[in-house]
Assembly symmetry: C2
Homo-oligomer: 237 residues x 2
């Protein structure tokens, strides 16, 4: 079965409700392919896994899906093996990756999604679909055993991508940071995924969803900018 991923930049647009803009797309993406999703809450740091799972459960319930959280499973690998769909929530990417390695679910999830089980991630959850966590915006609050992640797509996503900067502040722009990444990782391409947008990957096809453009950044090349009418399949090549 073809690989299917919905890779979402962010849970919540500025001033909107939690997961609000994502709902029609999640509903359509899952369709009748799942009645229950397996939730990975390990990016959550400021609230308990239970609180986080309950918050997301409410939204999925509203869309017509049950939600089971992996932190309540005595055998996480078995839970992955049985999952009808896998949903990875945002939060701190380092904590998420640390826990995914620690619990041994990285490889089982990779295999399961390669075999056609739908995968949904937002923010940190989109980051881990990439080969590594190296294009996260998060603070490295914990050292994971490896920066390697699921590698379900060959490119890196920078979620919450923005050209905005903090006024009167001297940090790097996001694009400067990504170009630093490319100095060290010259073979990769980086997708700057703005808030309110997502990538739909189905087999060999990649579509942008949302009203904003996406930026594609490669070493020694000018940054490309596309809207949702452009075929992005080249990202998988």
């Amino acid at each position: 079965m073809a690989k299917r991923l919905l890779l979402i930049s962010n849970s919540t647009n500025y001033g909107e409700e939690y997961l609000g803009y994502t709902k029609p797309h999640i509903r359509e993406f899952l369709g009748d392919k799942a009645r229950e999703v397996l939730f990975i809450p390990y990016a959550g740091v400021s609230m308990s896994y239970l609180e986080y799972a309950n918050k997301v459960k409410l939204v999925f319930k509203e869309m017509g899906f049950e939600l089971k959280s992996i932190h309540e499973e005595s055998n996480p690998k078995a839970a992955v093996a049985k999952a009808e769909a896998i949903v990875v929530g945002g939060g701190n990417t380092f904590h998420l990756v640390h826990m995914m390695h620690e619990t041994g679910i990285m490889e089982p999830i990779r295999k399961k999604v390669e075999d056609g089980t739908p995968f949904i991630g937002w923010s940190a959850g989109s980051n881990v679909a990439c080969p590594s966590l190296k294009t996260t915006n998060d603070m490295p609050i914990i050292q994971p055993s490896s920066f390697d992640t699921l590698g379900l797509v060959p490119f890196q996503i920078n979620p919450h991508y923005t050209d905005g900067v903090i006024p009167n502040h001297n940090g790097e722009t996001r694009e400067q940071r990504i170009r630093e990444f490319l100095e060290i990782n010259p073979e990769t391409q980086v997708v700057g995924l703005k808030e309110g947008t997502m990538l739909l990957v189905e087999g060999e096809k990649v579509l942008l969803i949302g009203s904003k453009t996406v930026k594609i950044i490669k070493k020694d090349q000018p940054t490309l900018e596309f809207d949702k009418n452009v075929n992005l399949d080249f990202l998988l090549k």
Copy 2:
């Protein structure tokens, strides 16, 4: 000899010249204790080590000091052992820490500075004076063998600290990120060091330099804010 550190938030204030505001403080800090400094350029990613070292060398020359860059030394550990002062420049913290571990200079620098050799760092260079890199703002563009750093002070610095946010953007505030760090590292205190400020550590004494306040953030406690008239020695306890 007492330990002496000048831990600077940032090289360049918004709209000012490179290292401009730091010069009188570096000059006074080094005084006649060094004629030549050993520069660590490993945070530099977008320019070569040579270009970076030359840029900093000009500024130190202007202040009356020679500068030798460690990347030109065939024996980096021996260069550290002979150094009259150590200067660690900003850039990407992950790259800096990766290279400091890779070249084996972490422990020699720690020992040398503990023994009284003056240490100056800005941005990533201040970060590595702390126990770990975990409060950096930088993108994890490379995986260092360890997040552990020099531990010359017992607290963590967040350089370029700001309460500002990107307008209409939904990322966490800096303080939220630091509070996430404290969830996982509850025993540590974090110093939010705003641009244009620095900490002067001499033996058991800590002073803030600069016209802005500093924020001290501890788990489950309200954030404290101090100006340069407040004794900060408690940070070393």
